[in-house]
Structures are given as C-alpha cells and as structure tokens.
Amino acid sequence: MTKNVVRRSCGWARLPGRAVLLVGLLGVLLRTGFAADTPKPDPAGIATGDKTTAVDAGGNAFAVPEPTDKTAPDYAKNKKDFDEYQAQAAREPLAAKLADSVGHIRIATNFAWTLNTGYLVLFMQAGFALLTCGLVRKKNAAHLMMLNFAAYVFAFLAYYAVGYAFQFGAVAVNAAPGNLGGTPTLNHFLIGSGQWGFLGGNGFFLSGPAYDAGSNCLMLFEVVFMETAGYIIVGSICERINFWGFLLCELFIGAILYPVFGCWVWGGGWLSQVGATLNLGHGYVDFAGSTVVHAVGGFTAMALAVILGPRLGKYGKDGKPRAFPAHNLVYVVTGTFILLFGWMGFNPGSTLGATDLRISVIAVNTNLAAVAGSATALFFWYVLFGKPDVTMACNGMLAGLVAITAPCAFVSPTSAVVIGTLAGLLVCGGVLFNERVSKIDDPCGAISVHGFCGWLGAVCVGIFADGTYGSGWNGIGAATYLGHAGQGVTGLLHGDTRQFFCQLGGATLCAIWAFGATFVVFSIVNKIKSMRVPPEVEREGLDIPEFGMSAYPEDAVVTID
C-alpha cells in the first residue's frame, strides 16, 4: 500500500517555501533606517537599566524626572520635587551612582525572570505534544508528534521574520515594558499611529531597532506564547490534515494571525487604548492571554476543523458520533501535568518582572482555577455518565487554566476558584455540544478548552477583577480610578460596568478575527489544493504514508548479525 504513495520529495515544502520568500522580501523592503534623535538599540545590554529604572515597591522612581508640561495642574509640586532631587544628587553623588547600579540590577532580575518563565512556557510544547498524542489513535502517534514539533519550528521562523515586528514593533509608543528597560527602539507603527495603532513596524528579522537586549528578552518570552496558540490547532485538525497544509497554517499564525490581535492588545495597539479613546474602563485587558493566545488558537482550530470536516467514520450515516478512544492515557495525564507546570511560567511570567510581587497571587490563582476546573469537570461527568472520565478531568484542568489566564492578576483566590468552576462546566458543555450538536470533530477538545474558555476568561476579567492590582493599566487612572487612589483593573462585581462591556466586546472580536481570518484564507487554500489526506491514507494512519515511519514499530521481525 505504501509503495503506491509517491514520495514527492519536498513537494510539501513548495507552498510554504514560497510564502516565506514573499514575507522575507516584504521584511527587507520595510526596514527603516535611523534618524539622529531616535533611541539606539543596545545589543550588548550595557546601556539598559540605570537610576531611572530604580523604583521602590510602590513603583515610585528614585530619580525624579523633570516636569515638562508647564500647564499641568501639579506642575509646581513636580518642579519642587525635581529641584530637591537635583540638590540631593549634587550633595550625594555616590548615591546617584549606586542608583544606576540598582536600576541595572532591577532590570537584570526581570530579564532573568522573564527568560526563565519563558523557558517554562517552552516546555509546555512537550506537554501538549504528549497530551494530544495520547488522545488520538495509535496509528497517528508519529503524525501528532511531528505536528507539534514542526509547529514550534516553523511558527518560530515566521515570528522571527515578521510576526514579532508586527506585534511589538510599536510597543514603546503606548505599552513600553518598563520592567525590561522599556525597549524604546520599538516605537513605530506600520499601520496606524498614536492610540489607534493596528500593526507594528520595527524589528523585522529582529534586526536594526530590535537587535537590542531588552527587545530580545521580550521576543523570547512572546514567541513561546505565540507557539502556544500555534500548537493548539493541532488538537482539532489532527488525524486528517496533511503536512504541507499544516505548515502553511503555522506560518500564517506566526506571521499574521497571532501578531495582529496581539498588537492590538499587548503591542500598544488600539484595543488596549479604548480606555482613553472610548472611555471603556482600562481598555481591553488580557493579562497573560486567555484571548490573545488561547481563544486565537481555539477559534482558529474551529475554522480549520470546519474546513477539513470530521474524521472518516466519526459520524455514522445516522449522524450519530462514534468514539475513537485515546491510545495512551499515560501520555494524556503526564502531558497535562507538564502543561500545568509550564503555566507557572505562563501566568506569573507575564508580569515581565520578579520585582512585581503580585507574581505570588498570580501563581496561586492559576493553580486554584486549575484544580477547580478539573474537580468540576470530573464531578459533572460522573453525574452525567456514571464514571469519572480521565480525559475530561485533564481537559477540565486545562479549561480552568485557560480561563484564569486573563484574570489571574486581577482577582482574589476565591474568584479564581469560581472562574475555574465555570470553565469546568463550560468545557464539558462545549465538548458535548461539538460532538453531538455542531458536529465539528475536535479530537482533543481544543475548541472547547481554548476557544470557549479563553473567551470566558477575558469576560471574567470584566466580572471578577477587584481593583487590587493594575493601577494605571494601559495608561488609565494611574492617580485615581473610580474615585479611589491606586484602584486597579475592576470588574462588574466591584462597580465597573464599562470594563465588563469592553471585555465582552474585545473577547468576541478575538473570536471573530481568529475564526474569520482563518476561515477565509484557508477556504481558499483548501479549494486550490485539499489540505486533507486521501481516505486510504487516513484509514491506514498517517504515520507511514506521511512520514515513512511508525511511532511504535513492531520489533518482532528483526535480524541480528
């Protein structure tokens, strides 16, 4: 059977190869030069972090900046503070020098934090690979592993080439990461400007303005988040997508789909600024990416699953679903634990700094939502079907994790338990809905876990955020918010209705963007050339026809010299 499958050497690479070339040319054309007064990149990291980045626990800077706006109401006070600081600095020059060192060490601490939590998120790749591999049939195990592996490889390259520049090329305009030194060279929008930015434009191929220590630190952290969105789709499209089609999906996610919405929310783009521009609370808030990462992945997965259609034999002639039981529950559970562990980097890491001590609350909230989600799903399934389903227990935990990802920094531990519980219920409902009603074949439940619960997570920010953290978020209300000094991001239950509607709108926009853009682009691709393997390949299993090797080759017939 396999002898009849023609080995099209690198035939699968032609289409994505052309895509990369085109994108590369685009990147070269768009590179901008330096003007004399623009910030200089710091590739060696020797000019990042000084007394201006030395702050106390409350975020108050050691070095008082000179007030420039003479018309501001508190100009007189600020000028007095500045003059006093100048006088003290003149009397104690050693203290000022020490402050330079302290400021540098703060940035260094945060670099170490951000990079290491980024490595934890990288490790989640292994977790997801194990999880999804275990959930599918044995004949597709190598295919699942290869999808997860190639996802990392190719999406990374697309993000390096253009994705990072699109997402963060203008981050310094509205959302400079102060914990990492501010990345001042990433300050140019390709599309849009000011508080209406749509696409960043500095740092293609990580060169020029992005060849900077702070920028690279940010890039490492953000690329592994993009990778998370990239591998989520594997959970829904596996067991029937062909390899070149999959590579195109990954290039698309890394280059365009993820960075666009990511720019709008995290890159200082328009969606983060609607607090100022449209008076919608603190603007759209998504702390670690319930929507930016997970809903993008989940709704992209949904669009692709709709285009591909269900697996052969999944639905009988009467339309009733058939079960394809997991081939290795050991992988499923181990993979889930690895994801949980990696999430300790995903959520707390999103402060981009260990100097932000909210990291402890974030870590606890993350775990609470995880276990609440799992317990809820387990119990609910037991009530419904009489036995606790191992895979749903795992999906329940992941649902809780996805849902807490946006609100983790802004809610109390009890709220985290509630959010996890809601996610546990939603994922169970979602799995049953897709299986029986919408008939969208989702082998690993990725649409329910990441799509639906990601949307829920962002909305939960607008419900449960209690104002104890996030003062000045997206540039709103640094002095006072809702009449209180130091009030942070707040939700419906604590008196902020506008934030709730902002979250509702932004999360829904995310779903529409991810589903819509993917559906349009890949409907066209699929019409040109089918992204699905032929039926005889699907029946045999994709391991040998697609990759020429089996995940578990029988060792019975071996000749030994």
Binding site: A323, D389, M392
Partner: protein
Amino acid sequence: MKRIDSIIRPQNLDAVKENLAAIGVQALTVTEVRGFGRQKGHTEVYRGTEYAVDFVPKIMLTIISSDDRAKEIVDAIVAGARTGKMGDGKIFVSPLDEVVRIRTGEHGDAAV
C-alpha cells in the same frame, strides 16, 4: 499426536501452569488474544459517546501431546481454569500431522 489449544482467562494462567507442571508437561506456548463468546463485550462511554468493548482479553495456550496423554492434559487445564462463571473459555483438541524438533531433526512422538 494432538494439538491442544486452550483459551482461558489471563488470571488463571498461573494455576493452569502449575497443574500442567505437576503432571509433567514440559512445554507450552502462550499467546495474548482477544475474543468473545457468550460472555460478550459491553458498552463504555468515552467523552460522552458510547462505544462497544466487544473483545475481551484472553490467553491462548498451545500444547502438543501424544495421543494417550491428551485427556489428562485437558483435565489439568480445566481444573486450573474453571471458575464456574461465564467466560472461563474453551479447549480445542485437534489431530496433528507432524512435529519436528529443529535442533536435532527428530520427528513424530520423539519430538513431542
């Protein structure tokens, strides 16, 4: 010569092996098989969808014996494998044309 194939529950393999050793049976082959008879399978639920677990795991023992020993071997197997519940298994005794010991080239009863 007879070929005795027995399909038994996996958990009774040890008891059967002991009984056979007690009557001096020195050689047997074991295969892991799946099947169903009157015991039938049952349905389970995976992620909300019912599926049939038709095939029950069993052990198949294959023993070669001379004609005169076949009955005592069958009795020994039955004694070790019977629980009285459905699913105990079956024993098939069939005539054997030829047995060869590869190492020495012996044929027939000498090779059993």
